[in-house]
Amino acid sequence: MEDQHNNVFELAEQRRLAQEYDAHLEGPMVGEKKSSHAITEEYARADPVYIAKTQSLPQTYSHYRPILGDGNCGWRAIAFAYFEKLLQLSDAGQFELEIARLVSLDNYIETVGGQDPSYFMDMTEETIELLKDLLALLDNPQVARNTLLERFNDNGRAPSIIYHMRLLAVSWLRGHAEEYQGFLDGSIEDYCTRDLMAVNAEIDHMGMTLLIDIFIKPVGLSVEIVYLDRSEGTEVNTHIYRPIDQSGVSQIGPMIYILYRPGHYDLLYKERSSYFVPHPAATMASNVQVNRATSFSRQHDIQQTQPTMENFSNVDIEFFSSIPGFCVPPPSNHGFPTEFPGFQQAYDPSPVSTSVSPDPSMVCTNSSSSSLSIATTFTPQHSSSLSAAMMSPQHSNHSSHSPFSTIQLPIHTLNSAQPQPLQAPLSSHHSPQHGDVASPPPTNSTFRPSKYEWEAIADWQEGPVIFQTSTFKNSHYNTAHYNNPNFQPEEWSPDCEEAFDSSGRKKST
């Protein structure tokens, strides 16, 4: 009876969400980027599967961008992400190449896609024109980003770009009919007119695959679809589309993240949170680590790495400062072992190499995993040589001196000298005083224990610790605020500290 009752409740709840969802057609076609915690908030009263999944989501994907669900969201999300990624790469040569490629694809749309150029040229020109406009604005990224957002919200111009996407998918399907026929129930022609070319037909899995194949992969971009649905588990499932290079090897290019909820697509981002901007002093501290890392990698002849000191001093600021915001890699470290096959073969199965396993639960129990999560998390975003270099010290370290301690050392000494905001979440699960960060902090280390370490420390029921600004802390979105529907006063828990002392940290002394 209880089960049945719950099921009824769940169904009703789902229906309610679905209805509210469909009703939500207000707002811009492409919204402003915002914190992924907004998604968590949105699902706070949904069923437990959604709650669990959305609570862990912001740990991996820091931001999201809402896309209007008018039947074009999937097409629009891919198209917008394409332009945005090109802007981010900021390579004028690539823009030129893309303009040339899209012009030549007009021919493909006509000959293979069977479309009349006198009608579709107006649409594809809109896409090419936007590329040209953005190319001209490359020196001024902020203006370029605004132009992109405005163009995608311009009802007179954006539909052409989106229809261009549909035409590309149709043409690709007609050009590869034999390959795809088996996946279709009806004829290709029916599918093209009904599901691809009808002006408000939502993209389906096939359409997404077609569009990525013709439009995204040739640029060298990868797409990760993040599925937020009611399937089992506490983490979202993901699927990655990867470009194939000339030799037929699949590559991991710069990644586009797309959030899929049944019937709807939004964009996701993995980015540093603004409040983790490192202080120069922190940079110095991380440089110490980097120097040691290089020496380790030399010692063990990691072939993939050609690290120079200059390289590290260029990248390490971003790299290390990002650690706290990115403490959880996605449940499946896509292709990680295949990307770096050398590692698993070159080293004995140490605690570190077991934690290479994509199974997050294993990683959680491993105290040395914190630094590993750094490397895995960054695999998709940074060059492989960098990731490899950063991993090398752990793998090469077979002594009882845990690699974990090399990371922890600066924090510990700094903490004893000066209480740091990062201690706050350890004694209570509430957000640290990020207001402090705004004022120049004294020798502020940006290191934090990773989520894995924390989970070992305290068996939290509340889900992931939420780093937030003081604005957040004082708002009703904070569960410690009396206006929050899930109000939970801050509590001091002796267990937390005790568990904390008995693991992780102690090793660093």
């Binding site: 207000e26 707002g27 811009p28 919204g31 402003e32 915002k34 907004a38 809402p66 479309q115 009349d116 006198s118 009608y119 579709f120 107006d122 649409m123 957002l149 405005e150 919200n153 311009d154 009802n155 007179g156 111009r157 539909p159 052409s160 229809y163 549909r166 035409l167 007119t193 009904r194 070319m197 009808a198 002006v199 408000n200």
Partner: protein
């Protein structure tokens, strides 16, 4: 341009753009809408004038408004509509071709998928609309609809029944209903 500054932005839900900003983003829409739609309709006019498909014709209304057209189709031979000519009106939305035109029969017609007011039930003019369709393809589709009505979803139930059961009476009804209308 300035009026969006006056808009009330207190009602915007958290997560949506403030009204002023949203209005700003959408502000150029009207001008551009008309612009791209006009361009498309000019292209279509060119196509129609150069291709000269027998049995159909279309031209913008005489008032110079490109978003309103008048068209004719000839009833196909071997159908109850043979030797009859039908006038239609097209009204194009401002986001054409990303939304279908509104097409109506001006000439009274007795047909299972057309009601007494001239409204047409045809899937490509509704949810099956694609931006690859144009005036010419719509007219050709309507012409074939005359010979092959979709009796599964009729607007005129009597016509659908007669089409299947009593073609002579159906033809009589078509002839009775038909009135040649003059240009306005």
């Amino acid at each position: 341009m300035a009026d969006y500054a006056m808009e009330d932005n207190q009602n915007s839900a958290p997560g949506t753009l403030p009204a002023a900003q949203a209005a700003k983003l959408g502000d150029p829409r009207r001008a551009n809408d008309a612009q791209s739609t006009t361009k498309r309709l000019q292209t279509e006019l060119m196509q129609l004038m150069t291709s000269d498909t027998p049995g159909i014709s279309a031209f913008p209304s005489s008032d110079g408004n490109l978003q309103s057209w008048t068209a004719t189709i000839d009833g196909p031979d071997d159908t109850p509509y043979a030797k009859l000519t039908f006038k239609l009106t097209f009204a194009f939305p401002s986001n054409y071709p990303f939304a279908p035109p509104t097409v109506m029969f001006k000439t009274p017609i007795y047909h299972p998928n057309v009601d007494m007011a001239g409204r047409i039930c045809l899937d490509i003019l509704k949810d099956k609309w694609t931006a690859a369709y144009n005036i010419q393809t719509v007219l050709l589709s309507l012409q074939s609809l005359l010979g092959e009505p979709n009796n599964a979803s009729p607007l005129n139930g009597e016509a659908a029944t007669l089409w299947d059961s009593d073609m002579d009476r159906f033809k009589q009804k078509v002839a009775d209903r038909h009135v040649d209308i003059e240009d306005e």
